[in-house]
């Protein structure tokens, strides 16, 4: 019985292997006949408004009508995601699209994928792995997002800078990029960081962190929160203590991700700055897959999406509609 099962599995693997080879041998055939099999690994879609928008965008693009046979898998941690990736590799997908939970630990599984002739495309988040392991990477440059924000802060020409820095979940690309830019600017300009704490993308934690600083009697005039939720938590703590914030307020509020509600806070002058992090990568992914299927080569391995920073004094209603997620 066991032997029989083993034989069936082996046969299946061989057939899959042959189709994979077939695709490689005649890349032009892919777009004409048959569907393209993609495995999409993402983070928890409930994690934030950003992720929800990202997931929705992918689901709208990778449909049967557009010629795709897509499998979606979600994981909050690398372990869960790696398990899903191994499953997809066994299933013999043509493309593996990956938004990694953590930057490290992906080498061996991506090597497996390459050995099977599966093309890996990273989206949304970069990883610490050799460039040869993936064909392309469509990312937000988190460090650049941080730099844009830090430069904006520098341009405010405050007399002194006392910053509460609320970080995202430690180790994520967004946290590393956004924290790094602020740290560099703070040491270059001699800004004072009152406290640097991780809020784990969580509004409640951010509120407690800011409340703790207020209770301790520490003075500060900037809150640099690495996502909108945490900025909201920080603002709740300020409101509870009667500290003014936003345009003409005592404390400058900075957030990231351009949620629609956050941009509306910006427009109302309650916040000062919100950095964009573009979640809509599906069209870029589709473009690259089509090119590969047509046998073209990808000239730029890393595609960096255009991202803006919005200022409370210049944001318009059109911006909110266009860029709000």
């Amino acid at each position: 019985m066991k032997k029989k099962l083993f034989a069936v599995v082996m046969a299946a693997a061989m057939v899959l292997g042959m189709t994979a080879c077939g695709n490689q041998a005649a890349p032009t055939a892919g777009s004409g006949d048959g569907t393209i099999k993609v495995g999409i690994i993402n983070n928890d879609p409930n994690e934030s408004g950003y992720r929800t928008a990202n997931d929705k965008d992918l689901k709208a693009m990778f449909t049967a009508e557009n010629g795709y046979d897509a499998t979606f898998a979600y994981g909050k941690t690398n372990d869960e995601q790696i398990n899903a990736a191994q499953q997809m590799i066994q299933d013999g997908v043509d493309y593996l699209l990956l938004s990694a939970a953590d930057v490290s630990g992906w080498d061996s599984v991506l090597q497996d994928a390459n050995n099977q002739g599966i093309k890996v495309i990273l989206y949304d988040r970069t990883i610490d792995a050799d460039e040869s392991l993936y064909v392309a990477s469509i990312v937000s440059d988190m460090a650049k997002e941080g730099e844009t924000a830090a430069n904006w802060l520098k341009d405010q020409n405050l007399g002194e800078y006392n910053i509460i820095h609320i970080q995202g979940q430690m180790g994520t690309a967004a946290q590393v990029g956004r924290s790094g830019a602020l740290n560099d600017m703070a040491s270059a300009e001699g800004w004072n960081i009152v406290v640097q704490q991780t809020g784990d993308w969580n509004a409640e934690k951010a509120q407690q962190i800011v409340q703790s600083q207020i209770d301790a009697g520490n003075s500060f005039n900037v809150i640099y929160a690495e996502n909108d939720d945490m900025a909201k938590g920080a603002v709740a703590a300020l409101d509870a203590n009667g500290i003014t914030h936003g345009v003409n307020g005592d404390v400058i509020i900075m957030g990231f991700d351009t949620n629609k509600w956050a941009l509306q806070e910006l427009k109302a002058g309650n916040w000062n700055y919100d950095g964009q992090c573009n979640p809509l990568q599906a069209s870029y992914l589709d473009d690259i897959i089509k090119k590969l299927e047509n046998g073209e080569t990808i000239s730029e391995k890393t595609v960096i999406m255009d991202e803006k920073g919005f200022d409370a004094t210049t944001i318009t209603d059109e911006d909110i509609e266009k860029y709000g997620i």
């Binding site: 409930n46 934030s48 991780t198 809020g199 784990d200 407690q208 962190i209 207020i214 509600w261």
Partner: protein
Amino acid sequence: MQKTEKKKASPMEVLKKVLGRQIFIPIAALLLLVLFNLIADPGFFAISMKTNSAGNPILTGYLITILDNGSELAILAIGMTLVTAAAGGQDISVGAGIAISGSVMLRVLCGTNPKPEAIQAPILVAFLIGCLAAMLCGAFNGALVAYFKIQPMVATLILYTAGRSIAAWVNQNQLPIVPPGPFSYFGGVIPGIPIPTPFFIAVACMILIALVLKFTTLGLYTQSVGINESSSRLNGLNPILIKFLAFVILGACVAVAGLIKVSRFSTINYSVIAKDIEMDAILAVALGGNALGGGKFNIAASILGAYVIQFLTTTLYKFNVRSDALPAYKAVVVILLVVASAPRVREYLNGLKKNMGRRLSRREVG
């Protein structure tokens, strides 16, 4: 001779009685934290009067922060103690339950439009429907544990895993925002009253459960089912019903905690709301000196335990301990508790106590 022995033994007995009382553990932990803060920075205990952005007076300070943020945990500790006592296990789905009930409340308040101009239903109706949802979750867990005799942690693992996705599904993955108004009072302050409302809600829950335990036999029945299920059945109790009831009561506690949580920001984030709160609630029960295997229980001690945990959290925030390191400190507390309640350590401590008593009385004689 006899007389002197009696006289000398009495202070020892008093000490023994104090040490033996269950509530001694959380009180000792609290005193330890208070002492630490007094030495490190007495400013920790300062409370000042301020005006919030809405122009209302409000008291602020670390102690107020503890009372405010510890309330949800205190409310959950009530239900968790009952479940622990009756079923001899813990419910690990309370965080997910809060997400579900909170999501249902927002769904009722906001209707189909995630950002309405005005609330679409009275707050009381929203709360009651949210309460119903949470109690249904409790009933689901209760049925699995009481009727199907599944280990409580395994049974509640189902909702622990699926709960947050269910919560997101209730609102079709939208993030509803309740328009400003009275709904924010539950997690904030009522205009004119300078103490955060969550504290009053917690006190109301405490009074309610105290009355229930005083005027009904719930406490006694729960305890006897927890101590020995078959003998309580032989005495005419229905263990299935009692266990089931404990989970439903925990469901009601979850709904109240959920109301406070969603009211704090007038919105919800399905994946992080009340994250890991189940672990804190179980820790509160353990810190209250309750046997985690069921049986005798003391709700007051659990509630105190809940505030002690918040005290610890707030203290660590004050000293800018990285918030992702907080669980490590809580783990130390758990280790101490578990070690202290291990039978072997108990035996050793009892032996030590007896020895000391003997030595003392011998010295008196000498």
